[in-house]
C-alpha cells in the first residue's frame, strides 16, 4: 500500500540541525547535534533512544515548539514556523492534554473553534472523528470520566480533527497499561491507514517502535545524534503479528541498535 512512498512528497526534511539548551551558561546542554532526517509523506516514523537522547526535542523542532540553534527544519517544504502557523500538523502528548472543563466533543472541536469554524461544521466533524476513534457514545462525557486509553483516543481525534497531513506523537501510550497499549497500537495503525496521515512517533518501547513503524530512527544520547535508521516492513499488522518471526526479527534489530548506542 505504501511501498511507493518514495515517489511522494517530502513531509519533513531536517538538515544539519543542532539544539543547545542554555547556551553560554553553566547548564549548557547539547541536546541534538548534526541531525539530518527526511520523512516521506505517508510514512510512519518512530524516534527511539535512551532517555536524554533528545527524541522529544527533535519532535519539538519539527513542531516549531523549539527553534534549532543551527541548521534547518522544513515541513511540507515550508519553514517549521510557517507550518505551525498554517497548522499543518496535529500533536498528541503522553499527558493527554484534554481540558477538564470541555466535554469530549468540545475538546475535539477546540482547534476548529480557534480556526473559526461554524458550530454546525464543528459538530459534523467531531461526530466523524468520534466515529474514527470509536467513541461515539462518549461525546458528552468529561475527560475525567474516561479511562487513560479513551482519553488518548480523544486526544488523537482532536489532533486529526482539522485534517493535518502530519501527526506528531510524544510517547502517547507511555502511561497506559500493556494490554491497552497494544490495543491502542492496532487502533492507531487503522487510523493511519484510513487517513493517510504521516506520523512521527516518539517512544522508548522497542516492540512499540517495531510494530508501528515503517522506519525506526535510533538516536544516541549526549549529544543526540541519529545512530541508525531501520526500515521495517510487517505489512498489514494485527495482534497476531506480535507472534510472527518477522516481528521478532524487527524488535531484535532495533534492540541491537539500541545496545550499540548504549555501548557508546
Amino acid at each position: 500500500m505504501r511501498e511507493n512512498s518514495e515517489n511522494l512528497e517530502e513531509a519533513v526534511s531536517i538538515r544539519a540541525a543542532d539544539k543547545v539548551f542554555n547556551p553560554d551558561s553553566d547548564n549548557e546542554v547539547q541536546a541534538l547535534l548534526g541531525i539530518d532526517l527526511d520523512i516521506k509523506e505517508g510514512d510512519f516514523i518512530s524516534l527511539i533512544g535512551p532517555s536524554g537522547c533528545g527524541k522529544s526535542t527533535l519532535l519539538r523542532l519539527i513542531a516549531d515548539l523549539l527553534v534549532p540553534t543551527a541548521g534547518e527544519v522544513k515541513v511540507f517544504g515550508k519553514t517549521a514556523n510557517q507550518a505551525r502557523l498554517d497548522q499543518d500538523y496535529g500533536m498528541v502528548f503522553q499527558h493527554s492534554g484534554l481540558f477538564d472543563w470541555r466535554d469530549v466533543s468540545a475538546n475535539i472541536e477546540l482547534p476548529l473553534e480557534l480556526k473559526g469554524w461554524s458550530k454546525a461544521d464543528r459538530q459534523a466533524r467531531s461526530k466523524e472523528m468520534l466515529e474514527l476513534v470509536r467513541l461515539e457514545e462518549f461525546k458528552d462525557h468529561y475527560p475525567r470520566q474516561l479511562s487513560g486509553g479513551m482519553q488518548q483516543r480523544v486526544s488523537i481525534a482532536r489532533a486529526l480533527s482539522f485534517e493535518p497531513r502530519l501527526l506528531l506523537m510524544d510517547e502517547p501510550f507511555g502511561a497506559l497499561d500493556e494490554m491497552t497499549r497494544e490495543h491502542m497500537q492496532v487502533e492507531l495503525l487503522r487510523i493511519w491507514r484510513e487517513t493517510g496521515t504521516t506520523v512521527v512517533f516518539v517512544t522508548h518501547s522497542i516492540p512499540e517502535a517495531a510494530f508501528l513503524s515503517s522506519k525506526v530512527v535510533v538516536l544516541s544520547p549526549r549529544p543526540g545524534r541519529i545512530h541508525s535508521e531501520i526500515t521495517v516492513d510487517l505489512g498489514d499488522r494485527t495482534d497476531q503479528t506480535r507472534e510472527d518471526p518477522e516481528f521478532f526479527q524487527a524488535t531484535t534489530e532495533v534492540r541491537e541498535a539500541l545496545r550499540a548506542v548504549e555501548a557508546g
Binding site: 505551525r84 503522553q94 492534554g97 481540558f99 477546540l110 480557534l114 468529561y142 475525567r144
Partner: protein
C-alpha cells in the same frame, strides 16, 4: 442519585440533632448555670424574642462582610490576572502576599481605624477586604500559573497567542483554585467583620450585640447573637459552594470507565 444525596446529608443532620439533645440534657442534668452555658431551648426562645434587634444587627454586619468579600474577590482576581501577565510582578509579589497572608490581618483593625476613620464603616470593610484579598489573590494566581506545559505547547501548536491561552486554558484552569479560596474567604469575611466591630465603627451590629449582652450578663442573648453570626457565616460558605457547583459542572465526577 437522589438516594446518594440523602445518604450524604443524613449523617450530619443526625449528629446535629443528637448534639443539641445532649447539650440540652447535659445542662439540665448537671444543673449547669445559665450564664456559663444556656440550654439550646432558651437560646432559641431569646432568638425569637429579640428577633428585631438581632435581624437588624446581622443585616448590618452582613452588609459589611458581603460587600468586603465581593470587593476583596474582585481586587484579588484582578491582581492575579495582572501578575500573570507580567512574570516580574508575579515573582516579586507572590512571596510577600504569602507572608502577609500568614499574619493575622484582623489584628490590623485598630490601625485601619486610624487610617480610615472611626465613624464610618469603611475601616471595618477594609479589614474584610484585606482578609479576603490575600487568599483569593494567592490561589487564583497559582491556578493561572500552574498549567501543564503540554497544554501550553498544544495551544502553541494551534498558533494561539497569550490572550487565547489565557481565555481557553489559564482562566478555566484557575477556577478550582479560585473556588477553594472562596471557601476560605467567605466564612473569614464574617469573622473579620465581627472582630473589626470590636475595635470601632457603628455600634448596632452583631459583634456589638454579643459584647454588650455579655456585659449586661444577658448570656442567652449573646448566644442567640452568636447563632445568628454562625448562620451568616454558613450562608456565605453555602453560597461559595453553590457558585462552585454552578461554574464547574465538570467537577461533579461521574463514574470512571474501564478500557
Amino acid at each position: 442519585m437522589k438516594n446518594r444525596r440523602v445518604a450524604s446529608v443524613l449523617p450530619p443532620v443526625l449528629v446535629g440533632i443528637i448534639g443539641l439533645a445532649l447539650w440540652e440534657g447535659a445542662v439540665t442534668v448537671f444543673e449547669i448555670k445559665e450564664f456559663l452555658l444556656p440550654k439550646p431551648s432558651s437560646i432559641w426562645a431569646r432568638l425569637i424574642e429579640e428577633w428585631g434587634v438581632l435581624r437588624h444587627a446581622t443585616w448590618e454586619t452582613g452588609k459589611i462582610a458581603i460587600s468586603g468579600l465581593l470587593i476583596g474577590i474582585l481586587l484579588g482576581v484582578l491582581l492575579a490576572l495582572i501578575t500573570n501577565r507580567f512574570k516580574v510582578l508575579n515573582d516579586g509579589l507572590t512571596p510577600f502576599a504569602i507572608a502577609i497572608n500568614a499574619t493575622p490581618i484582623v489584628a490590623l483593625a485598630p490601625i485601619f481605624n486610624v487610617w480610615f476613620g472611626l465613624t464610618g464603616t469603611f475601616s471595618n470593610q477594609a479589614v474584610v477586604i484585606a482578609v479576603v484579598f490575600f487568599p483569593v489573590f494567592i490561589n487564583t494566581a497559582k491556578g493561572l500559573n500552574e498549567v501543564h506545559p503540554n497544554e501550553i505547547e498544544l495551544m502553541h501548536s494551534y498558533a494561539s497567542g497569550d490572550w487565547t491561552i489565557l481565555r481557553e486554558v489559564r482562566i478555566p484552569n484557575a477556577l478550582p483554585f479560585f473556588a477553594n479560596s472562596l471557601r476560605l474567604a467567605a466564612p473569614l469575611s464574617v469573622i473579620a467583620a465581627i472582630v473589626a466591630e470590636y475595635f470601632g465603627g457603628p455600634q448596632d451590629r452583631i459583634g456589638n450585640v454579643i459584647t454588650s449582652s455579655a456585659g449586661f450578663a444577658k448570656y442567652d442573648v449573646a448566644w442567640a447573637a452568636i447563632a445568628m453570626a454562625s448562620g451568616l457565616g454558613l450562608l456565605l460558605f453555602g453560597s461559595a459552594l453553590v457558585t462552585e457547583r454552578l461554574s464547574m459542572p465538570w467537577r461533579i465526577s461521574g463514574d470512571i470507565k474501564d478500557n
